[in-house]
């Protein structure tokens, strides 16, 4: 039992820290407004990503042949902690690096890997994931977007939704129904879609706090080349499942959430540390102690996932627990922040009387989706109880073998 990194890994972390110290000032010196345009965001992203690529400090656990550093998930985790949490540039390709490109790496042909992975790593191409539909969220296999053969290639028609960063994306990983008569899980194919192609339109979905992260994506007879089928034709479900496994595996989302949770803990410290116990602050103290403890649990579960991934152990429930943990911890933390702020917690805007320009209430709103996105808490509890504990499936989910 040893929670320490190896000496080599510690040295690697030191090296990364040095690199950060050397390279951050230059980036920070560049002009970048508080409220950037999409073009400015893209430009900054591309610059920073290119720099990381040049030093092989992005997706370091991928093979050198495709542009990674040939290291392990452990070094990837270190890089995430040391670089990604700094938010030096907007993380526009998080979906690509976390979901789409790993699938291409694992399920794609050599040609597909070479065409797409290095371009993304250089910051030249941004990806989105086109799975969810208005009628198919938790029940992904209920999707209805159709792909029909068209000569050598395919024509895609339908609508996707909750597509993060589609408004930046050059490419999309799209799951579509290629055989309408087949059962729900068969007859799906995974496509690599050119998002700039005719027939693709992207409509923003603004979330409850006004931010634009998600989109609806409409496909109107969009042509896809035959070489842009990923994996087997009609074998897309397996590829999708693998993708979701990646999403719950080394995506390190819980590490990326840390800065916003830490911000709440810092606020709490400012408000509570050193204060005598009063009727009003004890509930908040108890809550903070709980959050700190659950964060430690979450970190350890993350390490267990990482350890399992690096030793090749079969996946356990820890990945699901990390997701449940970060989503619930963040929701409670953001709610606590507003309670700590009192009436000031309900104010927005640049007024100096408003704490951090309303960051806390905006982020509190954002957190409502945490227990829904990336696997709802209900679905995760089903997965844990059925796959790990071996409980029977819900009767109604046992045979929903019809496409809709």
């Amino acid at each position: 039992m040893d929670f320490r990194l190896t000496e080599g890994q510690e040295r690697y972390r030191e090296a990364v820290r040095h690199w950060v110290a050397d390279n951050i000032p230059e980036m920070e010196a560049l002009p970048y407004p508080a409220d950037p345009t999409p073009e400015q965001m893209r430009e900054r992203y591309a610059l920073w990503q290119r720099k990381r690529f040049d030093f092989r400090l992005t997706c370091v656990h991928w093979p050198e042949a495709v542009g990674g550093a040939g290291l392990t998930a452990m070094e990837h985790f270190i890089v995430t902690e040391e670089i990604d949490t700094l938010n030096v540039a907007p993380n526009l390709n998080i979906i690509g690096f976390g979901m789409c490109l790993p699938v291409i790496l694992h399920a794609g042909s050599g040609e597909q890997r070479n065409r797409y992975i290095p371009a993304a790593l250089r910051g030249e191409e941004i990806w989105c994931q086109l799975f969810s539909e208005p009628g198919a969220g938790s029940d992904l296999a209920g999707l209805t977007t159709r792909a029909e053969p068209d000569g050598k290639g395919w024509r895609v028609n339908g609508q996707k939704t909750w597509t993060s960063y589609a408004h930046f994306a050059d490419r999309g990983l799209c799951l579509a129904r290629s055989e309408s008569s087949a059962s729900r899980h068969r007859g799906l194919t995974m496509f690599l879609v050119d998002m700039r192609r005719e027939g693709v339109s992207v409509r923003p979905i603004r979330i409850n706090n006004g931010d634009h992260v998600f989109n609806e994506v409409f496909f109107d007879n969009v042509y896809v080349e035959p070489e842009d089928v990923l994996g087997e034709v009609h074998g897309g479900w397996k590829v999708a499942i693998d993708t979701l496994m990646f999403e719950r595996g080394t995506s390190n989302i819980h590490i990326l959430m840390r800065p916003q949770i830490d911000k709440v803990i810092a606020l709490a410290k400012e408000r509570l540390a050193g204060a005598a116990p009063t009727l009003g602050n004890q509930a908040a103290r108890g809550e903070i102690a709980r959050l700190i403890t659950r964060l430690k649990v979450m970190d350890i579960q993350g390490l267990r996932v990482l350890h399992g991934a690096t030793t090749g152990a079969p996946p356990g429930p820890e990945g699901s627990f990390v997701k449940l943990d970060w989503s619930e911890i963040n929701q409670r933390a953001q709610a606590l922040a507003l309670d700590l702020l009192g009436p000031a917690g309900a104010l927005l805007g640049d007024n100096p009387a408003v704490p951090e320009g309303g960051w806390f209430p905006k982020n509190w709103l954002r957190s409502f989706a945490n227990t829904i996105e990336a696997g709802s808490s209900e679905i995760l509890r089903n997965i844990v109880s059925e796959r790990i504990l071996g409980l029977p499936k819900d009767a109604q989910r046992q045979n929903p073998n019809r496409a809709r």
Partner: protein, 392 residues
């Protein structure tokens, strides 16, 4: 015992629902919030024409002389419809004027309020400060012919559009805080009053910060024949505010629940309506349980406050604290559960659910934390703590 609303109360509620559906339908509220548009004047005038602005004011001042239970039928519908505008600030400030204002002030202010000509605001507590019965961080120095008022408050609901402000200030030094709180009617246009509008999470109320910088207030603008009347005015205004917020929460929580339940009946996953899955179904049951618990204690609290004789088992202060504590937790639980039932769509700007979430949080943050109400509940049940250790 009769736990039904009477015919007149049902009529009041039906009319309120119709009025709000017509003048301020939810889609319209959604649009107003998106564009940060305040409640249009004609709607306010319509509310005045319905008699709402004078609902609980005596007929002498043009009011309807209704009970709090009667009023609650309107408040619940306002909460249900997320009706914006400074109704609660005006209601509670006018109530302070009624309870403590000299005859001349009542004659001048109240009929104009009833007719929709005046908006009022109430500045009572300071965020981050003590949320006790004695009010906020405004202080009043006695001076010749009146008072000099000092102090500031971060966020006062309805202040931006207020024609008059009722301010609760402590007479003399901060150390004497338990001795004398007094209410003053302030003209926002006089020298020393500094008002700065704020953007808010919930557009239901406009809010603004208030600074009083040696504001000279003549003695006749003191509410109460003498300053000692302040605490009793404060207690009764507090109870009205707590009750009003609770019915706002009740109507909102009920509506948010209904939206989620209807969705659970029609949205399908894995070939079944999601409402057939216990994870969803039991969340719906828990929402109804919470809403009906709030309804039960709210109707009781209104009755306690309406009663001419004190109830056997509860003071108005206890009833107010209980209903307020229940409201804070209920509205929060319901928007959480409703969002989870609705799934991702509930987290979009397009969907109305975030309006309920924002309203729930704003009600909960605006007037003191849960612990404050819990301590009143404990105090009224003989669980008092040693003096001097209370705090917000």
């Amino acid at each position: 015992m009769d736990l039904r609303y009477d015919e007149n109360q049902i009529l009041i509620q039906d009319q309120a629902r119709e009025f709000i559906a017509r003048e301020s339908p939810l889609e319209q509220v959604h649009e107003w919030r998106r564009s940060e548009t305040p409640l249009p004047g004609p709607v306010w005038q319509g509310m005045a024409a319905m008699g709402w602005l004078g609902a609980i004011l005596p007929e002498d001042y043009g009011g309807m002389g209704l009970s709090l239970t009667d009023l609650s039928r309107i408040l619940e519908e306002m909460g249900r419809g997320l009706l914006p505008g400074p109704f609660l600030p005006t209601l509670t400030a006018a109530h302070a004027v009624l309870l403590g204002g000299p005859q001349e002030m009542r004659r001048r202010i109240l009929p104009a309020v009833v007719q929709g000509q005046l908006h009022l605001a109430l500045a009572r507590t300071q965020e981050g400060g003590r949320f006790d019965a004695m009010g906020g961080r405004f202080f009043a120095d006695s001076t010749e012919g009146g008072y000099l008022l000092f102090g500031e408050k971060l966020a006062v609901p309805g202040l931006a559009e207020a024609d008059h402000i009722v301010v609760a200030a402590v007479l003399g030094l901060p150390e004497k805080i338990d001795e004398g709180v007094a209410f003053f009617l302030i003209d926002p246009k006089v020298t020393g009053v500094v008002i700065e509008p704020l953007r808010t999470l919930d557009g239901g109320w406009t809010q603004a910060s208030l600074r009083l910088d040696a504001v000279r207030v003549p003695a006749y603008r003191l509410l109460g024949e003498n300053p000692g009347q302040g605490p009793s005015v404060n207690e009764r205004v507090s109870a009205l505010l707590d009750l009003s917020l609770a019915f706002d929460a009740l109507g909102g929580a009920q509506h948010a629940m209904e939206i989620a339940v209807e969705y659970a009946k029609v949205r399908t996953a894995f070939g079944q309506p999601i409402g057939s899955y216990q994870a969803i179904k039991h969340k719906c049951a828990d929402m109804l349980h919470a809403v009906e618990s709030l309804r039960a204690i709210a109707m009781w609290a209104a009755w306690v406050m309406d009663a001419s004789e004190p109830a056997q088992d509860a003071t108005p202060a206890l009833a107010a604290a209980m209903v307020r504590a229940t409201a804070i937790e209920t509205y929060d639980l319901v928007v959480r559960h409703a969002t989870q039932v609705l799934g991702a769509i509930a987290c979009t700007e397009e969907h109305v659910m975030h309006l309920f979430a924002k309203r729930a949080k704003t009600l909960s943050l605006a007037f003191g934390p849960l612990a404050y109400y819990q301590e009143i509940i404990l105090r009224e049940n003989g669980f008092g703590i040693s003096a001097g250790s209370q705090g917000g």
